[in-house]
Amino acid sequence: MTPETTPHDFRPLDNNHPRTAFSCGDTALDIYFRTLAGQSGRRRMSVVHVMSNTVTQDVIAYYTLTNASIDAGLLPDVLVKKNRYRPHDTLGVTLLGRFAIDLRYSRGKGWGVHMYMDASYNALLASRIVASCGILLDTETGNARAREFWAGREFVSLGIRNDGKERFFISMDYIQKLHGNA
């Protein structure tokens, strides 16, 4: 089953999504989706986007997007002088907080890339209303597969943090080039 051959759609999580059968193999991501995702959306902590098989109604995958701000310390001169930021301004950023694919949808078939395209497209659209300088995400400690995936999507590693998580960033200008004037 690939994105090209499987009828599917993307839409924000609602009560019609069958959540209990979802399993991506990561307990924390499974528990979040089964028990916390609805509340998270209702409280506007994040928007949960779900990819569903429109024939079987299976949940194929989900991801979450959240607005945040980033404090990177003193900004470079180019941002201060050219873009008129204050020297210690914070920058708007889009958090790709969770990203999970159900085990029933075999890996290596392009589902992850396809969902990333939806996530980045939505982040780009949102950035035209609420400013965002890029997409930021943290991979879990020791998750080499995730590191490889995001590096393959041309995300830039900001390094491994003391808690073992690796932080990745990609600028919204890059996303703009990827999707054009979508």
Binding site: P3, E4, F10, A68, S69, I70, D71, A72, G73, L74, L75, P76, V78, L79, H88, T90, L91, V93, L95, G110, V113, H114, M117, D118, Y121, C133, G134, L136, R153, E154, V156, S157, L158, G159, R161, N162, D163, R167, F169, I170, S171, D173, Y174, K177, L178, H179, A182
Partner: protein
């Protein structure tokens, strides 16, 4: 110089640069710990893990809301490089984006 009492905690995410105050705000040294004067020196010379209240010049700390993500010094260079020099998407990425658009937005 105006001063304030700040209750500092060693951050669980990166103890080197981030100190949280009692209300959940974060006290961030400008230019990293080296430029933070009394606060950094106090932290550096302590082995404490429990919260402590110390008296610091306000000018030496930046207070940011709790939902702000703070980059530590070693992350800043890569972040600004990626932000200011975004590069061009590879042909593989462009092809994936085109397939996505054709599948999900056929009318576009």
């Amino acid at each position: 110089m105006e001063k304030a009492f700040v209750t500092v905690y060693q951050s669980t995410s990166d103890a080197s640069n981030i100190y949280h105050d009692s209300s959940g705000l974060s006290a961030i040294p400008y230019n990293g710990a080296a430029d933070c004067g009394n606060l950094a020196a106090h932290i550096a010379n302590s082995t404490f893990y429990a919260p402590q209240t110390i008296y610091v010049p306000l000018a030496r700390v930046a207070v940011v809301p709790p939902d702000t993500i703070v980059l530590v010094e070693r992350e800043r260079h890569a972040f600004f490089d990626a932000l200011l020099n975004p590069g061009e998407p590879s042909q593989k990425a462009m092809d994936a984006a085109r397939r996505y658009r054709e599948k999900m937005q056929p009318s576009g």
